[in-house]
């Protein structure tokens, strides 16, 4: 999202007070609906797959994918770019032309500004689009009200780089420009957040770069959590092996305030830490559109869904997948979003054809690099616990690598090629 929360709400609510009508009532309809239609919001790890699989399973359903950009940059592997292992983000970037051509997905490049669950219509910057069923896969947004001083201007000084693209490039440039002996701060929010092992992989990749190019420099991790959230033993082992004296991990240090002018962060209003490069990974919540559409639950952060269909428990005929959804034990990862999208697509097609829905079966596989040649992984097979109606990991399948592994680094590359190819072809 390029809009901050305030201007977004202003945009959504514009005209409501003056004319007494919601904005959605006024925009002109584009692409009038003629038959069965699924609309998908968001062209990332979840949305592309939901759109493609609905079409693969039922060609009689029209699928419209609405995405703000004409391309998508993967967050997975963007830490390798920060570590200097990739020259640019090109190998992490997909376009939508082949998805459209191969499967007949109608891709609309537009900003979604509202959803009307009663009228079953999505309002975009280009007009409204009607749906029979809607899939919302907007990824994450930030709880900026919990990070004083971290506004749009501060993000240009202290990048989050938690949505891959220009922010990632900015952080990389700052690392390259930093003087040897400088300190890089990485601020990690309380879980849950997108990609649980991501911040620790990032610390590893930045430490690798500093070790090679900026002698005497350090990575200071300020983690709001009481401990490393994911793959703890493996990260500690890798850091001891490769980055002793470079990574300074500090647990239970919740950054609550930033000062972009002073290049400092404040922990709980008590302790100030200064840095030469500061990467703020802010506390997170569902994408803004999920909030605007009333899909967010009582926690005011994430979207509750039926674990078998991913249909919102708050609005009928709207499904939420990926980082924005509450998917029980499944982590907020790219692979989870991919797998959830297929479960959701399967059951949307069943529901639209009046057929019996199918129990969900999903997977997560997520790799993290510790060095140029070593990676580790976490896996899990997920099913719904019928009694509790929540998604749980199947015992034995949810586990991490026994050790740092060169073979896993080779597999990780193929993981990326396959998952991006699935999304884009």
């Amino acid at each position: 999202m390029t809009l901050d929360r305030r201007s977004f709400l202003k945009l959504v609510g514009a005209g409501a007070g003056a004319a007494g009508l919601p904005l959605i009532g006024r925009a002109a309809e584009i692409m009038p609906k003629t038959g069965k239609r699924v609309v998908v919001i968001g062209g990332g790890y979840g949305g592309t797959i939901a759109a493609k699989y609905v079409r693969m399973m039922d060609k009689s359903i029209e699928v419209v994918l609405i995405e703000r950009n004409d391309h998508f940059v993967s967050c997975p592997f963007s830490n390798l770019y920060l570590g200097g292992m990739l020259p640019d983000l090109n190998s992490l970037t997909i376009k939508y032309d082949k998805l459209a051509a191969n499967h007949g997905v109608k891709v609309v490049q537009a900003e979604v500004t509202g959803i009307d669950p009663a009228a079953k219509s999505v309002t975009t910057s280009k007009g409204t689009i009607a749906y029979d069923r809607l899939v919302v896969s907007p990824g994450i947004d930030f709880r900026l009200d919990e990070m004083k001083g971290y506004d749009a201007a501060a993000m240009e000084v202290m990048p989050h780089a938690w949505k891959a693209g220009p922010q990632t490039v900015l952080l990389r440039k700052q690392l390259e420009a930093m003087k040897p002996g400088g300190n890089v701060i990485i601020s990690i929010p309380l879980a849950p957040f997108r990609c649980p092992p991501g911040p620790y992989e990032r610390a590893s990749m930045i430490a690798m770069y500093l070790k090679q190019h900026k002698p005497g420099s350090k990575v200071i991790i300020l983690d709001a959590n009481p401990d490393i959230v994911s793959k703890k033993g493996l990260f500690l082992k890798g850091w001891k092996k490769h980055y002793e004296g470079i990574i300074d991990y500090r647990a239970a240090k919740k950054v609550t305030e930033v000062d972009a002018g002073k290049m400092s962060v404040m922990i709980e209003g008590l302790e100030e830490v200064k840095g030469d490069v500061i990467n703020i990974i802010p506390p997170q919540k569902a994408g803004l559109i999920a909030h605007a559409a009333g899909l967010v639950g009582t926690d005011k952060k994430w979207c509750p869904v039926n674990p078998t269909t991913f249909e919102s428990t708050l609005h009928k005929d709207i499904h939420v997948i990926g980082d924005s959804s509450i998917a029980g034990a499944m982590p907020k990862s790219g692979y989870s979003a991919n797998s959830e999208a297929k479960v959701c697509a399967t059951n949307i097609v069943a529901l639209m054809n009046g057929k019996e829905i199918t129990e969900m079966s999903a997977i997560n596989t997520c790799y993290s690099y510790l060095s140029a040649k070593e990676a580790v992984s976490v896996t899990g097979v997920y099913k719904v616990n019928a009694e509790k109606q929540v998604i749980e990991g199947v015992p034995g399948s949810v586990a991490v690598s026994p050790d740092l592994s060169e073979v896993e680094a080779i597999y990780a590359e193929s993981w990326l090629r396959n998952i991006l190819t699935e999304m884009s072809t």
């Binding site: 297929k342 399967t346 129990e359 969900m360 079966s361 999903a362 596989t365 073979v407 998952i419 072809t425």
Partner: protein, 192 residues
């Protein structure tokens, strides 16, 4: 089993409350689609170290999954993921992938090695890897069009003893030189 449960659920009114009670057991596609993030849509892999599963022999997939689960076959993620499934799940996934069209990989291969491999394959491997590796006898895996790097990684695991070679295969492989084996892998990777 499902019918009994449904009858009971209808009688007690539980069905309306529980979404899962109305859901059919995972279909072969539901199970297999979850694998496609790493193995490609319908099992056609785009990653050179990840095998294509499309058109793979049903028996070979079931055998591989069982060996991953028991730890007999060396693995990274597969040993862990296999623990999430039953033998019936393996059979359903295998059924799904075996029915998919062979995935023709686009990879750079050595023409001379392909020719040499072609001359060696019939007498050395052809009794089990039948039809130029497009089919497999019993649980022998389909080799045709597989990624060369994947095949090389597997051959290295066989030769290091980490992956146990079937006896018949060991007999045939033993007299072959490293260059012969490399040629055979190029050949199978080239078959479309």
């Amino acid at each position: 089993m499902t019918m009994i449960w449904k009858g009971w659920a209808l009688a007690t009114g539980v069905l309306a409350m529980s979404a899962l009670a109305q859901a059919a057991p995972p279909s072969p596609a539901m199970l297999a689609n979850a694998c496609a993030g790493c193995h490609g849509t319908n099992g056609g892999s785009a990653g050179p170290s990840m095998p294509s599963l499309a058109s793979q022999s049903k028996e070979a997939i079931v055998e591989a999954m069982k060996k991953f689960k028991s730890g007999e076959r060396p693995a990274t993620v597969m040993g862990r993921l296999a623990k999430g499934y039953t033998d019936a799940d393996f059979a359903a996934m295998a059924e799904f992938f075996s029915k998919q069209k062979l995935h023709a990989t686009n990879q750079t291969l050595d023409k001379a090695k392909i020719a040499k491999g072609a001359s060696l394959q019939e007498s050395n491997c052809g009794r089990c890897h039948i039809e130029d590796g497009k089919e497999g006898k019993d649980d022998t895996p389909v080799m045709a069009s597989q990624w060369l790097p994947y095949l090389q990684m597997q051959m290295a695991e066989y030769q290091s003893g980490k992956r146990k070679m079937p006896e018949k295969m060991a007999e045939k492989v033993k007299p072959l030189s490293a260059a012969d084996l490399e040629a055979l892998l190029h050949f199978y990777a080239s078959v479309k």
